[in-house]
Each structure stands twice: as structure tokens, then as C-alpha cells.
Amino acid sequence: DQQVKQNSPSLSVQEGRISILNCDYTNSMFDYFLWYKKYPAEGPTFLISISSIKDKNEDGRFTVFLNKSAKHLSLHIVPSQPGDSAVYFCAGELGAGSYQLTFGKGTKLSVIP
């Protein structure tokens, strides 16, 4: 049972345009959501997060939106840059006392110069 789903394995975007990466989840007990970015041959690095009590969190070019009723979140990158080309993982964390992150399978973003 996949609790976190990233249905698009890949996405190509022109440099300067907006990249939108989507993530759906089934576990309504998730209390916190995170996005990680991964370059080839490197470990994932934390990018941005959002608490389940919020619907938006912004950090520079990166914004995460959460729609709890739809159990859907999205990561917006604007403007997209070639250096943003990487695999993006969405993850959910259960509430207090939990520490396991449940990851999606990732979306490979390619930003074309």
C-alpha cells in the first residue's frame, strides 16, 4: 500500500518557467510533509516542508501547497533553473512520537536551458 504517491515519474520544463511537482497521500494521520531533492550519486537533501495545519509555505523560489481535503500537495519552483534538474521526493511524517518518513517514488525534473 503506497501511502505517498508521486504519479509523474518525470517532468521537463523550460528554463524560466514554472515547475509543478505533485504528490498525493492516503494516510490522513500525516502531520508534516517534506520535499527532498536528490542529485545523481548523492544523498537526498532537505528542500522545504509544511505542517498539516498550514496550506502554504514559501522559501525563495520554492513554494509548497497543501490541500488536506484532497490529500494532495504540490511543489512549485519559479523560475526554474537548470540547476534544479534532479529527482524530487515527497515524504510524509506521522505525528508526535513518530520519526519514520514515508517517501514517494520521486519525480525526475529536467529543466531545459
Partner: protein, 113 residues
């Protein structure tokens, strides 16, 4: 070093052999995690250590897998009698206390032939 260090970066082994993977977490981080990423899959939780508490081994896929953390710092993940389905990238992460902002190492790519 400043980050999480894993060794070896690559390991090729024959089916049936035992392997040991090593992780050096960030100094001062009390929480240590092992995840693995099989081809085309998301990151799968394996085991969690927090300080001197008993580890959470709930993610270990079989009793061929074990892990220890000596002195609250370095951790080794041991896979006995390796099977081809064990082939994956094994990622170690640490955090200052309990996630969710995990700092990942670059992983060990294990190939079982």
C-alpha cells in the same frame, strides 16, 4: 567531515556472501536512520537509532539484516547471505534529535551478482 559519511560508496558481492555497510553520522547528532532505495522505488525505512534507546528495527525486511550503533556514533548495517533482491542504494541519515529534517549520506550502492 561536516556531513554524513558512508563507506564503501559501491559494493559488488556474490550471492550468499555477507556485507557490512558503514555510516559516520554528523557529530552531535543523536538520531541515526538507515533507508534503502531499490531501482524505481522510493526510500524505504529500515531502522532507527536514538541515543541509548533500543533501536526501532521494524523496517528490516528479514532476519538477514541487522544493524548496530557503537558508542552512539558510527553505525554498521550487516546483510548476511545476500540475495539479488538486496541490490539497492543503502542510505544513512542523521538528525539532531528526531527528524524530520534528515541529513543523508551519499549512500552505498550494493550490487549482488
Amino acid at each position: 567531515g561536516a556531513g554524513v559519511s558512508q563507506s564503501p560508496s559501491n559494493k559488488v558481492t556474490e550471492k550468499g556472501k555477507d556485507v557490512e555497510l558503514r555510516c559516520d553520522p554528523i557529530s552531535g547528532h543523536t538520531a541515526l536512520y538507515w533507508y534503502r532505495q531499490s531501482l524505481g522505488q522510493g526510500l524505504e525505512f529500515l531502522i532507527y537509532f536514538q541515543g541509548n534507546s533500543a533501536p526501532d528495527k521494524s523496517g528490516l525486511p528479514s532476519d538477514r539484516f541487522s544493524a548496530e550503533r557503537t558508542g552512539g556514533s558510527v553505525s554498521t548495517l550487516t546483510i548476511q547471505r545476500t540475495q539479488q533482491e538486496d541490490s539497492a542504494v543503502y542510505l544513512c541519515a542523521s538528525s539532531a534529535y528526531r527528524g524530520p529534517h534528515l541529513h543523508f549520506g551519499n549512500g552505498t550502492r550494493l550490487t549482488v551478482t
